[in-house]
Amino acid sequence: MSTPAFFFPRSVAEAVDVMDSYDGAAKLVAGGTALTLMVQQRLVSPQALVSLRDVPGLGEVLVDEDSGLLRIGALVTHAAAARHPLVRRHAPLLADSLAVVGNAQVRSAATVGGVLAEADYASDPPATLRALDAEVAAHGLAGERTIGVGELLLGFYQTALAPAEVVTEVRVPVLPAGTGSAYLKYTSRSHEDRPCVGVAAIVGLADDGSCADLRVAVGAACDAPLRLGDVEQQIRGRRLDGATLSEFADAYADRIDPVSDVRGSAWYRREMVRVWVRRAIEQALLRSGAHEHSKERAQ
């Protein structure tokens, strides 16, 4: 093992070139929180480290009025995004998810691009971004493309990114007014543990109180955030009473292929999916337009 070469490219194109020149043996460094641990534990031994620190334009947050997208630069840290007024106004669900990652030290370094590119299953923001139908912009040898988070995250530490492809931006559709959302992180051991299960839920109710929109993504319990589009579809138009929520949560619990690790066995994970899917929807309901009064009381 030798000390890796360190590069500080000044543009995305330059970063792509350096990555390409190492043919998969280089690693991008954004916040470095995950990579540092992996290098220290010799889980990865990159020949080169390519820092994005000096690449301009990756630290901005803005709302694109035309597309209705909240655009967050890949290098924006969890802490900065969580407290950013635009994120708080247009994607409070994401702000909440970023605010519960690890601890203050981690949040001050880890980036929104990095957490997706790393694709660690035991992480909070990916599930939320999956529920929000977020996309990433990625630059590679063939230029820029956008990838939905659902297509990006393939499995344990696996993404659809090419070795020389750089995530530059995370794009989050702004939710319609009155939509309720919640991210519930469940840690089975220490408060600062990674999630045993994390559930992001988004609920929109029709005027008659029936479900107009329900999106639920389960994170940290299997290889990549789990969303069941058909189950979501089936529930639309129905009233979200206790029996319906149980049915919905059972569908997620029954169909997930849960991991077993020190935070919980597969059996336990499945049971926690059952509990926390339901609780996340209940929480989202409290924050939806139909429950404005409850929302104010809750806050």
């Binding site: 093992m1 030798s2 000390t3 641990l37 534990q41 010799r42 601890n103 469940y186 089975s188 051991r189 220490s190 408060h191 600062e192 543990d193 990674r194 045993c196 149980s246 949560a249 020190v262 919980g264 066995s265 336990y268 049971e271 926690m272 059952r274 509990v275 339901r278």
Partner: protein
């Protein structure tokens, strides 16, 4: 100075068939690559060490006995170069049968760690060994009181349970660190040890030097909690320094720290016979302490374990036995609560099961059985200064104990309270010496070999000496440890320093005052007997205007300084076959009460409130004393709810702080309170480093039991275990046709 990086075993139990060091030695910047065989071939040093048994190789020779054992050392001026070169060392292993569980290892037919019994360290005198290496046992300790069979025969009911505690890490903020310089005919070691004088002895034996040519210097430690007691990294650095003729530094990574010294995993089968009125009449227990691959201090630990299993109760018939069993896991060492946490986890959990079965309130069954003054402990000692009943009643009041209080329910959340009581000894016999030096300006130097490791021993000793001399504590300076300069102390463990070193310090202060009195008598031309010393002033009794400060006496006498010396030696010891004798010079008495909330849908337990009570004798440093108890609370909540070294075939799975959990502030109860019960007439200071710890996990578990009826028998009380317990309970109740509302909530989630 050279930095050392260790190459560690990847095999749990294996013969080393080859160590290939060529590539590492050829790596640019690598100064030396050293193996255990290299050390043995020199012939100028011993290659085995250990405080009781000389069983642990400095670097593995021929055999490795756990994953993580040091096999080779790479030295370089640049630590990064040492890292790089270490990765190039290749070791070939021929695997041997391995065993990881203490009870399985006990008399195992397949796995045996030591074909030949190791030698004893000749200077370790206070442990009579019953080692049996043919059965992987490095010591056994038995306590017998009364006739346990007769006791069980007379009992109305007998309870028979097995409890488990896992290995855990002490997780000091600062990992083990050492610099050793063996150049010339001396060895100087800067070490993070809690046991400077024992380490000096171990190093002198290793390098064949007289004690006075081994100097151990101990700066402030970033925590110890027992993990830094006895030599561990020091022999490696010292041996390597002799090999290369340069100072050698070794500072463990966090991952290495986790495999250097652990809390003992322990399994105990505990049988308790009771009468229907709640009296405990018989106890029999057999405990298997998992010592790991090397004995370290396990031979002494089983003594604490054997009498510890009696608990703080007056039991007429007792037979307890504790085995320290060698396995292919990292060496277990001292750990806050030395052997007692594991005992209390078992007997206090079982006692609440007994109470429930008998229909007796948990506080009441403890009142019935707790030791009182004049009772005979299982060691044959007649105990006095017992305050268990006062501590229990006060803790019950603080937590708001009400025998008829219903369990509180709010949706999935259920709240209840639990209580526990623990007795713990301190290391006996033991010796401390201290020097107090009065200067001509009135300032005072205290020379001590007590180790400051964040527990606050320096301010506490300063407060004690200042009070003794009647002066401002700001005038007292307390030394760090340097065995060339500071006098003998046995060790900084076992919550002994405030008692032993504090006692020695008091004698040293008295000795200094005696000399001051003699000098002042000459100055004032009076008989020494006519002088009194009040508030740091020497005066003729009754004549307040004619007084001299301590500093003035030193200055005007032109003696330079006045030196007082003090020694405190306690005696005692127990027979290892019967456990009879003197177990402890005094007994730590501790009570804990917890209120918890369990989420019955997830099994997750939160501690809402905790209150503890400890008999402190006399509190010297109130703030420091409170901090020690709060530190115990953090430790206890971690042990109770999350801390566990998980091994898979000897490979540590939770070997980083991302995988091994320690509690955060958010995991702490919002409210906590500790009572430090004093008895000024008793006039004895009890240490507070550990006593508050052992009741915590059982109190939390007992609260969970009251809330849900779920009894967790294996620490930690993980959410998953609790949920499984809730499900099993619901199923058995459904089978019995009596569905309980509380537990069915968990299933509906």
């Amino acid at each position: 100075m050279l930095h050392c990086r260790l190459v560690r075993s990847t095999a749990a139990h294996a013969e080393i068939t080859a160590v290939r060091t060529g590539d590492a030695a050829a790596w640019p910047g690598a100064v030396a690559v050293v193996t255990g065989a290299d050390l043995a071939a020199r012939g100028d040093m011993a290659v085995l060490f250990g405080p009781v048994l000389l069983d642990q190789p400095v670097l593995a020779i021929d055999v490795v006995r756990y994953i993580g054992e040091p096999v080779a050392a790479v030295l370089a001026e640049d630590p990064a170069v040492a890292d790089e070169a270490a990765a190039l060392v290749e070791v070939d292993y021929a695997h041997l049968p391995a065993v990881f569980d203490a009870e399985e290892a006990f008399g195992s037919d397949t796995a045996r760690l030591f074909p030949e019994p190791p030698e004893r360290d000749p200077s370790f005198v206070d442990v009579t060994l019953r080692a049996d290496h043919e059965r992987n046992v490095c010591n056994t300790f038995t306590v017998v009181k009364g006739d346990v069979e007769a006791g069980f025969a007379a009992a109305d009911l007998v309870f028979d349970d097995v409890f488990d505690s896992p290995a855990a890490g002490a997780v000091p903020l600062e990992t083990h660190a050492v610099v050793a310089d063996a150049r010339g005919d001396r060895l100087t070691v800067w070490s993070s040890t809690q046991t400077p004088y024992i380490t000096r002895r171990q190093l002198a034996l290793l390098l064949g030097l007289p004690l006075n040519r081994v100097r151990v210097i101990v700066p402030a430690l970033g925590g110890g909690f027992g993990a830094k007691a006895y030599a561990s990294v020091e022999p490696i650095a010292a041996a390597l320094s002799r090999v290369v003729g340069a100072p050698v530094r070794l500072h463990l990574t966090r991952e290495e720290e986790f495999v250097t010294s652990t809390k003992h995993a322990m399994r105990v089968r505990i049988r308790t016979g009771v009468m229907r009125d709640g009296r405990i009449v018989a106890r029999e227990a057999t405990a298997y302490y998992n010592a790991g691959a090397y004995a370290v201090i396990s031979p002494r630990k089983v003594m604490f374990g054997a009498y510890g299993l009696n608990g703080p109760y007056a039991i007429p018939h007792v037979r307890t036995e504790a085995h320290a069993v060698l396995t292919n896991t990292p060496p277990a060492g001292a750990y806050r609560g030395f052997a007692i946490n594991q005992c209390a986890w078992a007997y206090e959990g079982q006692l609440d099961m007994i109470a429930e079965r008998l229909g007796i309130d948990p506080v009441e069954i403890r009142r019935i059985n707790l030791l009182r003054d004049g009772d005979t402990f299982c060691t044959g000692e007649t105990l006095d200064h017992l305050r268990f009943h006062d501590l229990l009643d006060a803790a019950a009041e603080r937590i708001g104990w009400d025998p008829d209080e219903p369990v509180h329910r709010d949706g999935d959340l259920v709240r209840a309270k639990g209580i526990s009581c623990v007795i713990e000894g301190t290391i006996t016999p033991s010796t401390s010496t201290a020097t107090v030096r009065l200067g001509p300006d009135g300032s005072v130097d205290v020379l001590t070999s007590s180790v400051e490791m964040g527990q606050g021993i320096r301010p506490a000793l300063a407060a004690g000496v200042a009070r003794h001399l009647g002066i401002d504590p700001a005038l007292v300076g307390v030394s760090y440890v340097d065995t060339d300069l500071t006098p003998y102390d046995q060790q900084t463990t076992a919550s002994r320093s405030m008692y032993s070193m504090g006692g020695a310090m008091g004698r040293a202060a008295d000795d200094a005052l005696h000399k001051i009195r003699e000098l002042a008598a000459d100055l004032l031309e009076v008989d020494p007997a006519d002088l009194e010393i009040v508030d740091g002033q020497v005066r003729v009794a009754g004549v307040e205007q004619q007084s001299l400060s301590l500093g003035e006496v030193v200055r005007r006498s032109q003696v330079g300084n006045v030196i007082g010396e003090g020694t405190l030696v306690t005696s005692g010891g127990l027979d290892p076959f019967t456990g009879q004798g003197v177990g402890s010079v005094h007994w730590h008495q501790s009570v804990g009460a917890a209120e918890i909330e369990v989420d019955t849908a997830t099994g997750h337990v939160r501690v809402l409130r905790y209150t503890g009570g400890v008999f402190a004798g006399e509190v010297v440093d109130p703030v420091g004393a409170e901090h020690q108890c709060e530190g115990c609370l953090v430790f206890g909540v971690g042990n109770a709810l999350m801390e566990e070294l998980v091994f898979d075939q000897g490979q540590l799975v939770t070997g980083t702080l991302a995988d091994y959990m320690v509690p955060t502030l958010e995991d702490m109860p919002r409210h906590h309170e500790f009572e430090l019960m004093e008895d000024p007439e008793h006039g004895e200071v009890h240490g507070l480093g550990e006593p508050a710890l052992p009741p915590i996990a059982p109190a939390i578990s007992n609260a969970l039991y009251r809330a849900t009826g779920v009894r967790i028998r294996s620490l930690p009380i993980s959410a998953e275990k609790v949920l499984r317990g809730l499900r099993e309970r619901r199923e058995s109740e459904q089978a019995a046709g009596q569905v309980d509302e509380v537990t069915s909530v968990g299933a509906q989630g």
